[in-house]
Subunit: 249 residues, 2 copies
DNA sequence: CGAACAGTTGAGCGCGTTCAACCATCGTGG
DNA sequence: CCACGATGGTTGAACGCGCTCAACTGTTCG
């Protein structure tokens, strides 16, 4: 039990009942768990995928018919541009869904494992049957998608209208809150596998400028990010500085 | 019939069967229309809302329990910032849904009518019942939300990684394609009720710079936007310039 | 040991901003 | 009927945030 919590994984790649229930709960905490949901999930033949850090799970333009639900680890979805740069749309943590879309619509983003990841893989084509059999599950997916849309809206505000330092602080606060909501961090900080380059690609900045802004934030005693660890020495001040309000998560 | 198509509205504020079917089709064109869908929509007591141009339909933070589906006109969802500026997350055209989310989650964006709008208003709390009665409809909502998420992803790329002129061209091409998909425009141009200020707020720019970039695009013969009309004298060149690919829509 | 990768710091440039005028159009009231 | 204020659009000048280019420092891994 303690071991399972520590790794946040399913035991030996087996889809345990408690693990699945826990995951669905985090996917959409507002929606109480229906008894049928786990049953129906199992009926559509889910697989458990494990991916090494820094591997591409699904590439831009792939004709994949898989919908993913993150169970452990950090991922990101991004778009590559012709000039070689990329833009990360959002980061995926436990309970986030990726790739759900209409049949025949190409998957125009890439999905990438940042740390080691364990994901639930569901064939998208079985979705229709799943929903008709378990309306609770349909609502759960809807809510998860709605939150995803809200997160992207907040990222748009961040990139479009905020200065580099505020942007950076906002993103690091968001990630901290999301980890907390998934039961994976406490308010004073968290382990973060992102590089400065990842942050830059998510924030529409260069890695060099991210580096400078991190120094500024550290020297202002608002937050620090060094050696894979984010710390909030004064989280209230950081939230005020970044205009961060967790309501959208 | 011709009159209805011209105004793209329901007759006299009445929810006609053909109008409703048409709207659901545009919401998620990939999904063929189930017989039960319109019936169930009617069961949850939909209203038809009409809004004058430049009015707020739903304000940031409102405890609204309404999900909207645009039937005619242009809207936008945006977030206001403490410094008085705002960021438009996306524009809503016919078939787009707004406000779908979990119970108890605040609506953290504002929804604004840009032109005169006609919207279908559905009580969000009835959603659960709707989905259990009509799984086809649930899938339709899922697909509409997934497309919305994809559009926001593309907007993130736009704002995060492209120059002002490319950004602007990309957005105007996207809006043109979306209007075409809804049967409201042809490839050479469309009527556009947006101000340069609206465009600026969507693109993370100032209205002044939008003005300059529009002049540049016009002088390059890529596209023009004057007096409420967008024209594409050379759409292929414009699409190449903007790296616009319509796959995500 | 050396290659590859992530992080760090400095100097100078340029895109998009701010500030400031000014014009055109339109609805409104004296 | 024109005066007017409000709104949207247009243009110029100068500033500054974040970029580019460049160099250098760890650290990890073959």
């Amino acid at each position: 039990m303690i071991q399972e919590n520590k790794t946040q994984g399913f035991a030996n790649g087996v889809l345990t009942q408690s693990g699945l229930e826990h995951l669905l709960g985090i996917m959409a905490p507002q929606q109480k768990l229906g008894k049928d949901e786990t049953v129906v999930i199992r009926e559509i033949g889910p697989k458990i995928g494990r991916y090494a850090p820094r591997t591409v799970i699904n590439a831009q333009g792939d004709q994949s018919d898989t919908t993913y639900v993150v169970n452990s680890g950090w991922g990101c979805t991004y778009l590559d541009l012709p000039d070689g740069s990329r833009q990360i749309a959002d980061f995926q943590l436990k309970g986030d869904i990726i790739g759900l879309r209409a049949d025949g619509v190409n998957w125009e983003e890439s999905f990438h494992a940042i740390s080691e990841m364990e994901v639930l893989e569901l064939p998208t084509k079985g979705l229709n049957q799943v929903l008709s059999a378990a309306p609770n599950l349909a609502v759960r997916f809807l809510f998860a998608l709605a939150r995803n849309s809200a997160i992207r809206g907040e990222h748009l505000v961040n990139i479009g209208r905020r200065s580099a330092a505020v942007r950076l602080a906002h993103l690091l606060l968001e990630l901290g809150t999301r980890l907390e909501n998934a039961g994976l961090a406490d308010p004073d900080g968290y382990d973060c596998p992102l590089t400065q380059h990842d942050l830059a690609d998510a924030l529409g900045l260069t890695a060099i400028h991210v580096n400078r802004m991190l120094r500024e934030l550290r020297q202002s005693n608002l937050l620090s990010f060094r050696n894979g660890r984010v710390n909030f020495p004064n989280r209230k001040a950081a939230a005020r500085f970044a205009h961060f309000e967790a309501d959208y998560l």
